[in-house]
């Protein structure tokens, strides 16, 4: 019997001071929306990272060299510009020289003008080996990728965007078309399905033209190997391989600064970033809820002050302290619940927009909703306790005498 009374009275009271109720609700709403949005985005980011690892394959590593150009030592610059043919050849032998490396794909990006049927194509040219297909997990749309035996052949494979551009210019199949790259002609032998990306590979695969490294050397002898992708054998120790690769290269090319990035390191840095991210989100959400909670407390304290006489009357005719506390707590709970639920709904929209914007897969996790709801409820109760306590402490004869 009592509870029905409590809730009805609480609703009634809140309804009779609408403006104040709305202010308190907005406070909690902002906090709840912030928390739920942040938790949801955190979950989406986690999911995104996980799915990235899946496509990535845990056994990838990438290798980048920076030359230590020591000008004071008077080193002959032409000789230290190692990333040339020799370097590429050395890289290709890595698979046989260093244990536990399965595949190697040196990658050079050439910025030569590319033309098709006299029209310029905005396409970087990627010179690499057939292994790139396995490493980057490329799916073939039409034709085939570069092959071990292609070596010096002037063949090229195009990404999906380029393939579309070639199709716009006429026929359905693009196999056999001729592209002019720099001042050489290449025959298209295949196209690649749209590629989703990979944390290790910064190439814009969909918008590029692929040619073999050997062919590239023929007409661009000074090409520079940006990155070498490595595939490690399953269950090998990435740290050991890193040391081995560094030793191998140090012997051949002294003065090279070698950076090896392995999947393991990437995971470590991503989880680290994620922790920082989570902490920041938690902090922001916490501050928002704190503000919301203080809002509730404020509104409730004003309400207690305004209703001193009412409280005095209730106490005089037999309300226990707990009855008064519960009355105000019910109001706080109702405010917090409305604010919390509205915040969750709003955060649903925000999360949607953010997902759209980041082209992430939209997810709205049940745990985010539950966390948002209970955290709001808890905030309401926590910050409602003090005003409720203040109200129940009033002395009926004092408040009634003050009239």
């Amino acid at each position: 019997m009592k509870w029905k009374f409590y809730w009805r009275e609480a609703l009634n009271n809140l309804w009779l001071s609408k403006l104040r109720s709305i202010l308190a609700i907005i406070g909690i709403l902002v906090g709840s929306a912030a928390v739920v949005t942040l938790v949801s985005i955190g979950e989406m980011a986690k999911y995104k990272a996980l799915s990235e690892f899946k496509t990535l394959g845990m056994n990838l590593a990438s290798l980048v060299v920076n030359q230590n150009m020591d000008f004071n030592a008077g080193i002959d610059l032409t000789r230290t510009l190692i990333p040339d043919y020799n370097y590429a050849q050395s890289m290709l032998t890595l698979a046989t020289k260093v244990a536990n490396i399965q595949e190697v794909a040196p990658v050079a990006t050439l910025s030569l003008p590319a033309y098709y049927a006299g029209k310029k194509l905005e396409a970087p040219i990627i010179a690499t080996t057939y292994s790139y297909q396995t490493l980057a997990n490329l799916q073939i749309q039409e034709g085939r990728f570069l092959h071990r035996l292609d070596r010096n052949n002037y063949f090229c494979v195009v990404g999906s965007d380029i393939a579309n551009q070639l199709k716009n210019n006429g026929s359905n199949s693009i196999i056999g078309k001729e592209l002019q790259l720099g001042n050489a002609y290449f025959t298209v032998i295949g196209s690649i399905k749209p590629w989703i990306g990979n944390a290790f590979i910064s190439n814009n695969v969909n918008g590029s033209v692929f040619i073999s490294l050997a062919a590239a050397h023929n007409f661009a002898p000074n090409l520079y190997i940006d990155t070498t992708l490595l595939q490690l054998k399953p269950d090998s120790d990435p740290d050991q391989i890193e040391t081995d690769v560094k030793n191998f290269l140090a012997a051949k090319f002294p003065g090279l600064e070698v950076t090896v990035k392995t999947g393991k390191q990437l995971i470590v840095s991503m989880t680290h970033q994620k922790n920082v991210f989570t902490w920041m989100l938690g902090l922001i959400g916490g501050i928002a809820l704190l503000v919301g909670g203080i809002g509730i407390m404020n509104v409730m304290l004003v309400s207690v002050t305004e209703r001193r006489r009412e409280i005095g009357i209730r106490l005089a005719i037999g309300a226990r302290r707990a009855d008064i506390q519960i009355m105000f707590l019910c109001e706080a709970i109702i405010l917090a619940t409305i604010g919390g639920v509205t915040g969750i709904i709003i955060s649903l929209f925000i999360t949607r927009i953010v997902a759209e914007f980041l082209t992430w897969e939209f997810m709205f996790s049940g745990s985010a909703v539950l966390i948002g709801f209970f955290v709001s409820l808890f905030t309401g109760i926590f910050f409602g306790i003090y005003p409720a306590y203040q109200a129940s402490k009033l002395n009926p004869i004092d408040v009634l005498r003050a009239e």
Partner: protein, 229 residues
């Protein structure tokens, strides 16, 4: 049997640095079923006395017993329960809750007893009917006249069927015609229920109608007169 027994009651208030005895060594017994008027000038301690009798306040010194029970060891919630069950209050300014309608106001004391809402409503309607207020049951206090509001307050005081009714200047805010009505209501209530009723009043004519008149002056009883009716 005496319902109320006050034994050497002293009530001291601290005002600034000064201590003031508002009730000075006051002794008083009131029989169950009496209709008592307490009169006295403003500031003589009438309300203070009533607050002690009504368990809203505790004496500084002395012993108060209601039906032989004393209250030293009871906490605020126990006192609230006794007030709720044993005592009905009627105040000068009615003290109805403005947000509740007449019926809800009358039901309020029952809200603090765990009784069935239907039964509570029945009881409240019963007392509203006795007060001739059935037609305004759904109205808010500010829609009612002063006399109607006071009758709602009286219904609220009676709805728990208390043995003691304490009315602090119940006609103080009403015109003389309405005052008479309210007073007659108390008198007939007393005649029908034999409840103990204590009325605080400034008005000697009202006091004349009661069975016993107690006059306070500066916290002391200067007159205590039983009247046969």
């Amino acid at each position: 049997m005496s319902l109320i027994k006050l034994d050497h009651i002293v009530k001291t208030y601290q005002v600034g640095h000064e201590k003031r005895d508002v009730l000075k060594d006051l002794c008083l017994t009131i029989k169950e079923g009496s209709l008592v008027a307490i009169i006295g000038a403003s500031g003589s301690g009438k309300t203070t006395l009533m607050n002690i009798i009504g368990l809203l306040d505790q004496p500084t010194l002395g012993e108060y017993q209601l039906r032989g029970q004393s209250f030293h060891n009871l906490n605020a919630d126990d006192l609230a329960r006794i007030r709720n069950q044993e005592i009905g209050f009627v105040f000068q300014f009615f003290y109805l809750l403005p947000r509740l309608n007449a019926l809800e106001n009358v039901m309020l004391p029952l809200q603090y007893q765990n009784i069935d809402p239907k039964l509570a409503q029945e009881k409240a309607l019963h007392w509203l009917e006795k007060m001739g207020l059935t037609h305004v049951a759904q109205q808010k206090p500010q829609q009612l006249s002063g006399g109607q509001q006071q009758r709602v307050a009286i219904a609220r005081a009676l709805v728990t069927n208390p043995s003691l009714i304490l009315a602090d200047e119940p006609t103080g805010a009403l015109d003389s015609k309405t005052s008479d009505d309210i007073l007659n209501l108390f008198i007939s209530l007393h005649a029908h229920t034999q409840k103990t009723i204590i009325i605080i009043t400034h008005n000697p004519q009202i006091a004349e109608q009661c069975h016993r008149i107690i006059q306070l002056q500066d916290g002391e009883i200067i007159r205590d007169e039983e009247r046969q009716k």
